[in-house]
Amino acid sequence: MTSTTTTVESVTTANRLAAHGLDLRYGDRTIVDGLDLELPGGAVTAIVGPNACGKSTLLRGLVRLLDPAAGTVTLDGSDVHRMPARALAKRMGLLPQQPVTPEAITVEALVRLGRYPHQRMLSPWSKTDQAAVEEALARTGTAELRDQQVDRLSGGQRQRAWIALALAQDTELLLLDEPTTFLDLRHQLDVLDLVADLHAEAGRTVVMVLHDLGQAARYADHLVVLKDGRLAAAGPPTEVLTAELVEAVFQVPCRVVPDPETGTPLVVPRSRTRSRATGR
């Protein structure tokens, strides 16, 4: 298990994503409402919150898949929505929640597409491109799958192939939208360990949307808790994740105990049957 309790000193100032008074809307519906937020550079940030709290929408706003109705998103101070698309794509990589796997594409062909922002219209495939692809394949353990069709892989393998695409993009920031959804426990941990390694060994700044609070506390240096499109809390998991917060945000009475493995906070919902039994 990789330790993810990064010290404050190692959190650098570069690659700081921030939202200032950010409003995100789908049509008339306001999803994210006047959000002010600063994400530490060089760290792993997890965005958590109940269903429909706007966490995926926020991520889409941060990578500018969604234009803000008001407010701005900045990366190291410059407005993301005013940067050239290609320049932004060289700094920020994205793994969407539901990527579309092209029919019968092989793993290597998929990962090669991650080099798109680095290529010009007529530029041939370069050594740098191939090196980035090889590294991405190696890091994600998909090198031996390179000739297989992505649509025939298992869910965990497929997710790693998609992460490899984002890695080949060679960006300092990596944004992942619920990377563990639809995976069983082992493959969830595989993906999260991979993310932790990318941060620890390759120095990537990671921002990911997660569902599981225990996993978020374990793998993230910084936690962003959203409720109804507003910020409920933000900070290191040990400080943020309290029983009062979880009850207020998720409406779940619980105790928060130290994770016996890592010491990070672990949310244990109170048992209805047990409290009934003791009440009798």
Binding site: L65, A89, D147, D151, S154
Partner: protein, 344 residues
Amino acid sequence: MTALAVPVGTLTRRRARTAAWSALAAALLVVLTAVALGTGQVSLSGWDALRALVGQGDPGNVLVVQQFRAPRVVSALIAGAALAMAGSMLQRLFRNPLASPDTIGVTGGASFGAVLMLATGASQQLIPLAALGGGLLAALLLGGLAWRSKMAVTRLVLVGLAVQQGLAAAVNLMIVRFPAELAASAMQWTTGSLYGRNWTEVWIGGTAIALTALAVLLCQRRVAVLDLGDDSAGGLGLNPGRDRLRLLLLGITLASLAAALTGPVAFVALAVPHLVRLLAGPPTLGTLGLTALTGAVLLLSADLLVLHVIPVHGLPVGAVTATLGAPWLLALMIRQGRPPQRST
């Protein structure tokens, strides 16, 4: 990790298969061209026909081949290639195996332009231009009506169908009021035929198609990135709505140019991408050449049938591609035994 029993070297195998089928298609193309140039009231051997094409041999033969047969044959080759490439592009951009000029409005638009020109009694020479304009009009309608939904794929399919139906209805309204002679001429133009092509048309159309095809070729990386879905494409630095619109315009221009040369020949654009998929795998930069070759071969074969096998005078080639193409494609699909395109 569970190792799946998939043979290694998929990419290499696909490339080899693409190359082999391309070589075969190219050979077939030469043979069919020779046959087409040599067949008619003056019968020539394939070799003599090819020699006559480059100005060698009996002057009478050279005249027949160069002035009467070659423009028609070359038109068929160019239009077939353009339609096939356009169909392949449209099916990828729409993420829909049914997308083709016939279902997104290009056929309706080109027919509309041509028939409008016939109705106004303007010069016949303006008809190709009008067909091109009509096809582009369809593109404008499509882009204009789908732009508000950011060119979302589901919306595009519906808007395309509506544009096609609307323009086809306008064409029918005009034809119903035509006198019989004009109606027959309109029928030729709306079905797609190769009668009466001349070298001027072939040169202009061919140059325009070659330039557009070159642009399509240069945009293949972009198309491949769009295949990953709008979110991934956005993350990789594309603007999915805008880029899809641009690529769509390119595909529609290609189809419209073909329609200007021959009228909107049905079915080639729909069928060829599926055939190529069965032969060589999913569309990539590498299969684009095979797609063009197959389209050319298909349209020329259909025209040979029209001219020399089917004993109906003045039959438009589009009627043959549709009647023979439909059951043939169905048979291929059934033999293959699986859906032609997976959506996810």
